[in-house]
């Protein structure tokens, strides 16, 4: 199949890559750009392990074609920490034991990252609803909720400071 050149911004850096028109973004990220933090857990857009941020929206990269991100901005878990400093969401997951096997975690955190920008001061129910596109088999979500509450507090206090 004829490949085509696309360019986009990945975690703040411009990248160029040659893709088949049918290639899924998750495969481009993992196979070609070696960003293996985003995972594949299903092929039906249910599990959310492949969640990344695309132009300020959460998307499941297993149902986005790589060609669709041409000229756009993608943020993955690898871009969450800035200059070696963990993002409050990352910190929250560690402090509140919001992960076990770690497989859902990158997608879960990328969704939390976006969700807290959509709703900086969420109730527990709002968190549970806002995160319901991402599945976790290990934690039962209770500590994920706490992790997001932790991050929300930290982000708000940083804003207030």
């Amino acid at each position: 199949m004829t490949k085509q050149q696309i360019s986009f911004v990945l975690n703040g850096q411009p990248v160029e890559v040659l893709v088949e028109p049918r290639e899924l973004l998750i495969h481009t990220l993992r196979e070609q750009l070696h960003q293996t933090g985003s995972h594949i857990g299903c092929e039906t857009t249910h599990c959310g392990a492949c969640t990344v941020d695309l132009d300020g929206k959460s998307v499941k990269s297993c149902t986005v074609l790589a060609v669709q991100v041409s000229g756009r901005e993608v943020l993955t878990v690898e871009g969450l920490a800035v200059n070696g400093e963990l993002h409050p969401v990352q910190e929250g997951f560690m402090q509140e034991h919001g992960l076990q096997c770690g497989f859902c975690t990158p997608g879960m955190m990328m969704r939390a990252y976006r969700f807290l920008q959509e709703n900086p001061d969420p109730s527990e129910d709002e968190i549970r609803w806002g995160m319901s596109g991402n599945l976790c088999r290990c934690t039962g979500y209770q500590n994920i909720v706490k992790a997001i509450q932790y991050a929300a507090r930290k982000l708000q206090s940083a804003e207030g400071a």
Partner: protein
Amino acid sequence: MATSAETLEREDRLGGIGCSRKRKEDPRFIQGKGNYVDDIKMPGMVYGDIVRSPYAHARIKSINKDRALALPGVHAVITAEDLKPLNLHWMPTLAGDVQAVLADEKVAFQNQEVAMVIADDRYIAADAVELVEVEYEELPPVVDPHASMKPDAPVIREDLVGKDEAGQGKRIHDNHIFTWEAGEKAATDSIFDGAEITVKEEMVNPRVHPCPLETCGCVASMDKIRGDLTVYMTSQAPHIVRTVVSMLSGVPESKVRIISPDIGGGFGNKVGVYPGYVVAIVASIVLGRPVKWIEDRIENLSTTAFARDYHMTGELASDREGHIKALRVNVLADHGAFNSHAQPTKWPAGLFSVCTGSYDIPNAYVRVDGVYTNKAPGGVAYRCSFRVTEAVYVIERMIDVLAQKLDIDKAEIRRRNFIRPEQFPYHSALGWEYDSGDYPTALDKVLEAVDYEGLRREQAEKRARGELMGIGLCTFTEIVGAGPSKACDVLGVGMFDSCEIRVHPTGSAIARMGTITQGQGHQTTYAQIIASELGIPSEEVEIEEGDTSTAPYGLGTYGSRSTPVGGAATAQAARKLRDKARRIAAHLLEVSEDDLDWDVDRFKVKGVPGQEKTMKEIAWAAYNDVPDGMEMGLETVEYYDPPNFTFPFGAYLCVIDIDRYTGEGKIRRFYALDDCGTRINPMIIEGQIHGGLTEAFAVAMGQELVFDEQGNLLSGSLLDYFLPTAWETPKWETDYTVTPSPHHPLGAKGVAESPHVGGIPCISNAVNDAFSHLGVTHIGMPHTAFNVWKTIHSLGLDKRDQT
């Protein structure tokens, strides 16, 4: 002796047993730097993808590879014909049966592996799968295990025709695998014949799937020059896999290296050896290139592992006061097309005979018959010890049925039958020795915490108004930590586990175990055990598992083995080193060993303040100044063969409100008290309990692998197979008591499976309790809104004109 503030401070710095240490694993996972099997890339690596049968039962008339092989980028199409010369088209199973690696002339379940395509990338491989032309002749499928045992049922396993056994005793039908019995039949029957009260109920634990978020897969790499085979694999048991791979491939075990990298959840799914692994290994040997095979979710749900499919008839005999005199259980166990259950070889029904539960039942008899059907093989224990979920379900449901018949409160009937604390060690009628327990205390603590009587009053008021509210109880006992090698083996290898500790000259350490974490946090908790036992801060202890070339041999992580067996090995290894350290300290301090006291992280001379040697100092001395005749270094390995299983227990209570018109159930409250003996890391324990309860919720309320009459799997993707989201998952309340195991070096029992095992019957009992005043004795799982509504509708409760 009072503990000084200084001692407490040193203990605190160690980060040992009992502290909620943050996880050592987390920094890599939260930064996207985990290393799961699909993250592994090797030079020259190619991809395998599997051609699968659309039919549940069919003869293969022909396979044409030509069009697939003509596709650029395709390297090979492997079928059973290609494996035959290597004698690898069939493989032995852990249960004494054989399983087709690639279908040999016929297929026996839908999505069975027929061929593997090897190609440059996964897109080409997927294209080529579509180009392999397989011609089938359909055969009548058998999906129901009862139908499978009918005299005229189609024969599923033609390879076994005329054979009166399939590895686990006598067969009585072409589709029969084994009969397994425990207990005294005649004595039990006679108790039932003369009993004042008997109850009987048929119940099914539906076929479900563990469905970890990461599917199964491997990267097999044969280095033809060195003759080494390295396989990265999602395996919960890498060492036994190495033994099996060596036996199957003929490559010496010393030349096989299995590496379990980070594993994205297991829950039993990753215990077995699946055809995809075998074919990828063969392909790598043949091509001399690394071959990656990663299953997709549909393949995962439809072929690798299933759990349960237990069709049980439970019976209890009691007196009029509800004192149970006997238990009788008959089970039809659907094992699918091949008996490749992953469980100790000599236990075809696993540890199901723990089904007398937490109760002092003097007589019991159990019979399990395993049968073949045209469904996927590869049964596993889904977040439980082998068949323990089924065992706990049948006794916990039956005791409710008995309570209902006698109109005795469901908490009270449990109290009347509990094994009393003073009866431990307790010998059950079916042959187990329960190590320790205090069931009444656990139950009372829960009842008080939730105001049980208040809940029952509320329920009575709601019933009077026609509302449906259920209160479910479950007072379960598990059996975990397989197990004593005299009782348990896998293909002849005893089910011990191991730990090797090496203390470096400057006092930090590395330890390796035969187990493998899949999210349980071993890198955190094993280091805590070593910290407490050896006085080295947990932050300075590195834990490695999963690489068979470096870790000592062990049987892996499943059936809550890690803490009971691996944790015991770790404690014992650390104690061996502490004994050596004591001898070195005595030498350095020029005193007798008996003059030394161990104090957190150092040896002190009795009665002489200031005369002491810390572990750091002793570690240094171990490499330059040891007593005459002592071997240098501070390193040891322990292979721990447990004297018995451990028996964690708990008391759970669930309150559910059910919508009278839609059948929708909402768990309002779930209170879980667990007793896992000594608690190593309370934060991790609580996390494990949350997760196990959520998986219990999934099973009780929605999970089922549903088949139509043709053997088509109807719930083979996450569109149809229920995995709860944050939205529907209830909030969990946890509590604990501590009753240490007397035979475990630390008193620990294992915990992660208890919430699954105890949670399922608790939720199911709650749903059933909501209808028990209406004469309903048993509603089967899963308790989906539709299934519950069917009961509601049959009772006429959903009529709007009713008040």
